[in-house]
């Protein structure tokens, strides 16, 4: 790889890093230039902000940063890559939460994971709504189609066979009350469940608690099978 190309790539990566940071600050409700400078590891953060503002990716008003449409799209793709990468490392390789940050950072850049690959990962993981740190993963084209052509690693509880053990990976419900109710009964990501029956309702056992669930809820609980040793 010639020097010019890798230098350009390096610059692009720095821009990506900052866009990612701005996105995260925005999630926390505080996307200001000051905060970016404070939190960025890039010593020249101020300079890069000017560069990306000049290239029309962001705009600032009294120190508050907002994305342009183009910038928003680009940042969203970075975040999606990063967080899906985290999920992948966490679920498939079972790398601890603390140790997944660095490799995920490497994977987030366009030249590493193409759009098609990202969608495949997303499908493989069962279209997770959040990363292991429970931050939202922006949806991609594949999620809207909810394609299941590839045999995914993470499946809804309804796909399990009776008698199988599985670990809950995420619960993709949009109803707050439902999440509250389930969590109060011990159904949260990380819990191990065994499927006892599917008819007339789903019955799962977690710890020493046996729970009956309607199919509608079981569909939203996404799990990864635990292979018997």
């Amino acid at each position: 790889m010639d020097y010019q190309r890798s230098k350009a790539q390096f610059e692009e990566d720095r821009i990506d890093e900052l866009l990612e940071l701005i996105w995260m600050l925005r999630e926390e409700g505080d996307a200001t230039i000051d905060n970016v400078k404070k939190r960025s590891e890039d010593p020249q953060a101020g300079h890069i902000i000017n560069v990306i503002e000049a290239s029309g990716l962001i705009s600032s008003d009294h120190g508050k940063i907002s994305f342009s449409e183009k910038g928003e799209k680009r940042a969203e793709r970075i975040i999606r890559r990063h967080r899906l990468a985290e999920r992948l490392l966490f679920e498939v390789f079972e790398i601890e939460e603390k140790q997944i940050e660095d490799p995920a950072c490497e994977l987030e850049h366009t030249h590493v994971l193409s759009e098609v690959v990202v969608d495949s990962i997303c499908t493989f993981l069962g279209h997770p709504p959040t990363c292991p740190h429970r931050k939202v993963i922006p949806r991609g084209e594949c999620c809207r189609k909810f394609s299941l052509e590839m045999k995914p690693l993470v499946v809804p509880l309804t796909e399990l066979q009776v008698g199988e053990d599985a670990r809950i990976v995420f619960i993709s419900s949009k109803y707050h009350a439902r999440l509250d109710r389930l969590s109060s009964l011990g159904i949260i990501p990380g819990s191990i469940v065994r499927l006892h029956q599917k008819q007339p309702t789903y019955v799962v056992k977690t710890g020493e608690t046996e729970l009956a669930l309607d199919r509608e809820l079981a569909k939203e609980i996404c799990v990864k099978k635990i292979m018997p040793e």
Binding site: E27, E28, G29, P129, T130, R134, K135, V136, Y175, H176, A177, R178, L179, D180, R181, L182, S183, S184, L185, G186, I187, I188, P189, G190, S191, H196, Q197, Q199, P200, T201, V203, G207, E208, T209, E210, L211, A212, L213, D214, E216, L217
Partner: protein, 655 residues
Amino acid sequence: MHNHDSAVVKPGEKIAIVGNPNVGKSVIFALLTGRYATVSNYPGTTVTVTTGSYKLGGKDVQVFDTPGVNTLIPMSEDEVVTRDILLKESVRLVVQVVDAKNLNRGLQITMQLAEMGLPFIVVLNMWDEAHSRGIGVNTEKLAAAIGTTVIPTVGVEKKGIKELRESLSEKRYSSLSISYGSLIEDGVERLESLLPDSRISRRSIALMLLAGDESLKPWLKDHLTPSEINKIELICQDVQGKFYEPLGYVINHTRLKRSGKVTDEVFSKYQKGGNTISVNLGRWAMHPVWGIPVLLIVLFLMYEFVGVFGAQTLVGLLENGLFGNYINPFMKFLTVVFIPDSFFRDLLVGEYGIITMALTYSMAIILPVVGTFFIAFGILEDSGYLPRLAIMVHKIFKLMGLHGKAVLPMVLGLGCDTMATLTARVMETRKEKIVVTLLLALGVPCSAQLGVILGMLGGVSFTATLLWVSIVILVIFLVGFLASKVIKGESSDFVFDIPPLRVPVLSNIVFKTLSRIEWYLKEAVPLFIVGTLILFTLDKIGMLNIIEKVASPVVVGFLGLPQKATGAFLVGFLRRDYGAAGLFALAEAGQLNPNQVVVSLVTITLFVPCVANLLVMVKERGFATAIGMVAFIFPFAFLVGGVLNYILNMLGVEL
């Protein structure tokens, strides 16, 4: 920091028993106070607070038995009750009952109690059950981890109760604290500065508010200005805005992770708990295929015990034997001798006499049936079969727009509709509560009535019984279906805790049956006497004849019944089982043919159960809703009866 044992009891101080559903709070309550609170093996037996008293340091301390909760952030009406006791009462000590084998779930509440800053001790109940599953809990380690006293007990065997009594004078504050991460902690801090002083810590209230606890609103309104409440709401929204998932869920998640850690440290599984008979039986009872024969066997045994032994054998012995051969002739003899006036004689032993009608019906016809039913039902309740039944019929209820959880109040209705109407509190949405209340009032026959009906139908034919059952079920289904279409609102999710199948404890069955019979005698028998007096008076002043004539187009014309049945319907307005008993007597006297028996029974089954039930409906659902239901139910009952009569005639069916 805090003094550990302040044995001085201040006046008005209370002890509250809290814990997850179905962990044995009521058992512990009864052992401490000597008062019996209904104990069963399914979540949600206790929906209101029972109070009793306990001698502590020479003074009487009030003890509360509270409805079970999974978290102190309430999601249904009964759960609000529990949280409000902690929030509003002067609680000296909280006794948290935990199911030893489900420690993990209990710890969620432990953490919340610690956050509230209330003194509490932990009772690890059902210690034996954990043991039989090969689970051991290191109580010393646990006590150290949560920073309070831990006492292992087996409530039903009274084990560990002495130790518990000794610990009640302590006042230990837990040292447990959890951090929820900087974003939430920041929100907590901001909220704390706005909150008023109360019996529980500001931190715990702040966390409840962040978790989106709607039920705190009235309390906030009492203590803060609208602008302060507004600020609180803004803070909550602001913190929630930083999370994708609801805050309540994030908070629960953090607690569960922590409790999981504690559990891992203190739990030991020393053997692989094999599948015992009760585990297998429990599985079969809700199996898609085997569950059906199990259900049929249960129904058959119930029928044999209540329908045959209770309603035929015992009723025969009491009604014809005791009352028919001895008491009534003897009383008639006595009255002839001692009461010369025929008016007063009739009042006691006439056609509508207190002894010959009210007491004969209530003691000889209904009591044996109710008694046997209560025994059978108690066994069912304590075995843990009812929640499994809820699973078996969940799909049918779902078609109706309700879910399996609604089965519990409906099945309880077979015992007593009035009590069951109270149990509707476990339903989470207003819509579900209304539909359940309506169906209970309309279609679910209570034990007293069921007994009389089975007794009558048993005398006719199996086909007649089947026809009655099918029609009542069909009506319940249709009305339920339409009501949940008409009444606006959401249905809640079906997530449901299944208790293990257990061998019922004899003493509990005896207690429960006796307290239910006592209740029946106190509540139903007086109404029977009132009903009889009304009939007697109407008869004497000649009104009964007039009413029979006026009602004749409906009773005789539309329903195709003899005029005499009017009296039965009349008392049916007071208690439908009494109405049914009147029909029973008519049928025995040979005045009803099989078709008429079925038509009259279907009609009376669809009446509002009793006056007490009506009062509870008004109290629970409001006056307007209750009256609306009544206005629908009575005409509808006659309509269904009439249509049935018409169809039977049209098809020329002779049962």
